[in-house]
Amino acid sequence: GGGNSGTEAGGSVVTAGSTSVQPLSEELAAVFMDANTDYTVDVQGGGSGQGIKSIQEGIADIGALSRNLKNEEKGLVSKEVTIALDGIAVIINKDSQVKDLSLEQIRQIYTGEITNWKEVGGIDAPITVVSREEGSGTRGAFVEITKVAAKDSAGVETDMTDANALIQPSTGSVKTTVASTPNTIGYVSLGSLDDSVKAVTVEGVVPSIENIIDGTYKISRPFIYVVGETVSEATQMYLDFVLSDEGQAVVVDNGFISVK
């Protein structure tokens, strides 16, 4: 590994960072290497923070994030490229009668203002709220779009998620939790949605790739690649590939949303 990509015919690229982006990166890398046999792309995990650290340390060429850069991180990278969007579906237990929620209702549920399903048209049962950990890209995008995070009087943006919400550390565990616990609500990456849980429509719109592309379904998060000062030729080639039609086809193929 290492960032010392060759200047000769071939070269190597190392990407590191978010484990949510990792599977997609693996697929992109595989297709890229099939087309350019002189090049290798190594895909490493580690988490979004680790991705930025790795390009700083010079051990990776590309950092992968599943969330927007924080202000304090902006100075650490020289360029960021959104490579795909991932829809976020709001999910509830299959037994629940509720079919649709408005963004406002979702906000009220997550901030603890609504605590019973009957207030949103369901049965009389307390709502168990499941969220992701602080710092998670999915949560970051979700609270921003649903306005669960809002500027307070001093103008500082705070995440108002109810302190009693159960926190699960991953897409998979949120899904399993919601699937196995009655009266729960959660949110997961659209790509991982299956029939163990029920996705509600938001403002009457079904969460689907088409609806996100045409802008009617509102909740999504970006997958971002960032690079440092020096960008090797191989890295540039790979980035160009990812943003090309061919690369974006891979994105769509794997259930994510193209940025084109």
Binding site: T19, S20, Q22, P23, V43, G45, G46, S173
Partner: protein, 275 residues
Amino acid sequence: MNKKSKNAIFYAIIVSLSALALISLILIVGFILIKGLPGITTEFLSQSPSKMGKEGGILPIIIGTLYVTLVALVIATPIGVAAAIYFNEYSKDTRSVRMIRFFTEVLAGIPSIIFGLFGFAFFVVFMGLGWSVLSGGLTLTIMILPTLIRATEESLKTVPMSYREGSLSLGATKWQTIVKVILPCCKSGVLTGLILGMGRAIGETAAVMLTIGGSMRMAESLLDPTRTMALHLYMLASEGISEEKTYATAALLIIIVLIINTIANEISRRMIKLS
């Protein structure tokens, strides 16, 4: 209370607690095997993963797991056993030795993610080993050392002083005494430590996630990145990629651990028989 009922209660407690342990084991293992065994096909065992792990098999990942575990054990065993020998047989029971022992024990309780971060900062970046089998193996080495040292030390302590005296009085050196008399008596203790340590190494995710990279390609050298089964399992499960593959991987992992443990026990049985 008379003795009869005391005895009855005693045995009832011992047996029912033991049964409880066994039942939880059966529950967990049974749960995974039932859900996972159908997914273990020859295809699963012989192919590389594709579609983010949703399809295909896990061959490179099995190989990666064996590499990393082997590196960890090959490095940790001699160092751990030697360190235990040093602390128990050579060093005087001084303050500084007690301090080291103490800190070693404290480290056993530090979450593995911290070992991961350390491994990343030290092996991956500082030593320049990159994300690799070696970086991961070395990180695991440090993680399992406390268990190994502790288990070895405990069994060294159980060797009667009279054996040491017998050997030394025959003009054997300290080292000869250790190798020929003391260690043979400790084999099962060391092995226990190894099995516990290996279990920890094989099942670990957080520490390897940051140090071996997680690449799904087949590792060709110690400096290549790779992915272990536990890490793969974690990715499959936490990103919700494929339930079938998740359980298949888990079931396979359990089978592998079972095989390794059986071999280890068989080896120790043979060794004990020989002496």
